[in-house]
Symmetry: C2
Subunit: 313 residues, 2 copies
């Protein structure tokens, strides 16, 4: 049996890490020789979660080929969000909750996606279908992933399946007060003062090809938007430099207040006019757009941008 690496997207968030660990365990029960790994260092929120449930931080890998040519992807399918040598590998399993884009295979594989708020919700369903007990600490990780992805069930991506899974996982993990644990966890991930400008704009950033444009979208969670606004000029300078170095046409940073569920979006690059059209909203003189009620990059940012950029292509 060839060893298979299991991982989430680059710039891993709590779901990318939790889903990889949960799927690796599940597939091991089915006889696969799996190891959950990460495509980068874990963020402070995920570190809090792993410490809380006593789980080791996964090993970081940059390429799979030195070890294996078989991999399982969780929480992503787009090649540019995946491991560097993805083009040379055979993907045997995918579990995801995002749009499907640019994912092509030469052979049939296991592919499981659902439009839920969190990839760990899909995996929770798979455990249930296969009748496999979820270990307590893995339930804790998946529970945390759902809280993280849905911002305590407040994101519009949240479904009833997520709600049910969260409660079931909390019961297994022995977490009595989900709200209390969740706020602690989200706050652990929002200490932006400790991060450099470069770290802030990179830590949860994903790349997309939308209407032929290279678009980079980062999301920063805060408990007070002022934490970002007070250093806006420096952050924009860092964004301009990185956009130039990495050839991004557009660089968007969504700053989300996890307590109020409102966002501001910083926009660098062009076409800015299309961004304004996409959100039916105007940028202020600092290139910042106010987006009340917007918390989901996947559901509230990528789709309108895709539509507008495709239309103008």
């Amino acid at each position: 049996m060839t060893k298979e690496l299991v991982f989430g997207h680059k710039n891993p968030d709590t779901d990318a890490i939790a889903a990889a660990i949960a799927l690796a365990y599940l597939e091991k029960q089915d006889g696969y020789d799996t190891e959950a790994v990460a495509l980068g260092p874990v963020n402070p929120e995920t570190k809090f979660v792993l410490d809380y449930f006593g789980v080791k931080v996964p090993r970081i890998v940059e390429n799979a080929e030195p070890e294996t040519d078989k991999v399982m992807l969780v929480d992503h399918n787009e090649p540019q969000q995946s491991i560097n040598d993805i083009a040379n590998l055979t993907v045997t399993h995918v579990v995801d909750h995002h749009r499907i884009n640019g994912f092509n295979t030469a052979k049939p594989l296991y592919f499981r996606a659902a439009p839920y708020g969190c990839c760990s919700t899909v995996i929770t369903q798979m455990y249930s279908e296969e009748g496999i007990d979820i270990p307590k600490e893995i339930a804790g990780l998946m529970m945390s992933a759902i809280i993280s992805d849905t911002l305590l069930l407040k994101s519009p991506t949240t479904t009833d399946v997520d709600r049910d899974a969260l409660q079931a996982l909390a019961d297994i993990a022995g977490v009595d007060n989900i709200e209390d644990y969740g706020v602690k966890m989200l706050k652990a991930g929002t200490n932006v003062d400790a991060k450099s400008d470069k770290e802030l704009i990179d830590s949860d950033a994903k790349s997309f090809t939308l209407g032929g444009k290279n678009v980079r979208i980062d999301q920063i969670n805060v408990v007070d938007l002022e934490d970002i606004n007070k250093r806006l000029a420096d952050i924009k300078t860092a964004m301009v430099e990185e956009a130039k170095a990495e050839n991004y046409d557009l660089f968007l940073v969504l700053v989300t207040n996890v307590l109020t569920s409102n966002s501001e979006m910083i926009v660098v690059g062009e076409p800015k006019a299309i961004v304004e059209t996409a959100f039916a909203n105007k940028l202020n003189d600092d290139d910042v757009m106010s987006l009340p009620g917007v918390v989901s990059r996947k559901k509230q940012v990528v789709p309108p941008l895709t539509e507008q950029l495709e239309a103008e292509k």
Copy 2:
């Protein structure tokens, strides 16, 4: 609730029809307003199956937009094998057992694929997971689809999951002798004398983009290869004409003896040399290659061709 059309690929085979009917019924139990339709007339094998189990032939549609903008795909995902106006529609569900290629969405959806011999096997698993009873006649259709796709479990695409599903479905459908029913069904689909050359090369044909080439691959099931060889010249003429009219670079017709599990492949177009390399085999003077033991287009024809055409791109 918007009505949703559920369909398999163009040139529907028994699995495309059975899987559409089975998924439409399953999703109806989940509250969706579904209708199973077909992207073309059913073939003689499928007609035999529908008659045997007393199920009406599905309505044929060419475009969805006059009725709805939401669809569910079974037994395919590649856009060129789908409904004509697929680019304008929202795909909400896919259930498949093929490679994933060229399938892109703007939003998350339900996508379920597994490397089994038959799409109906995946759907059988979904019924079981959701605890929904399979109606007798739908079990009969799905059982027939597994027999058809795996040539009575003899194709190398066959998995243990297919074997188990076939037996379970036969029990529900009340078919005691699977082998006996299967041979009758396969023979019903192999009356090639009744078909024109044009019908023969079209009836189970699928289009692929492999290494930038437009490749058309048809499969004809027979109980005696001589039924095709005696009219080879005419069939090749029809292939050349159609390749020219439809801009196919390569047109392959796989002629499979369903009783012996051997095939011959007729090759029209270029690059023929790459086809020979792909199968480590030579074409004879009639442009026919003998392929002993080859019965699966998906597992034994598309992958080696893809690899070779991509390598030579």
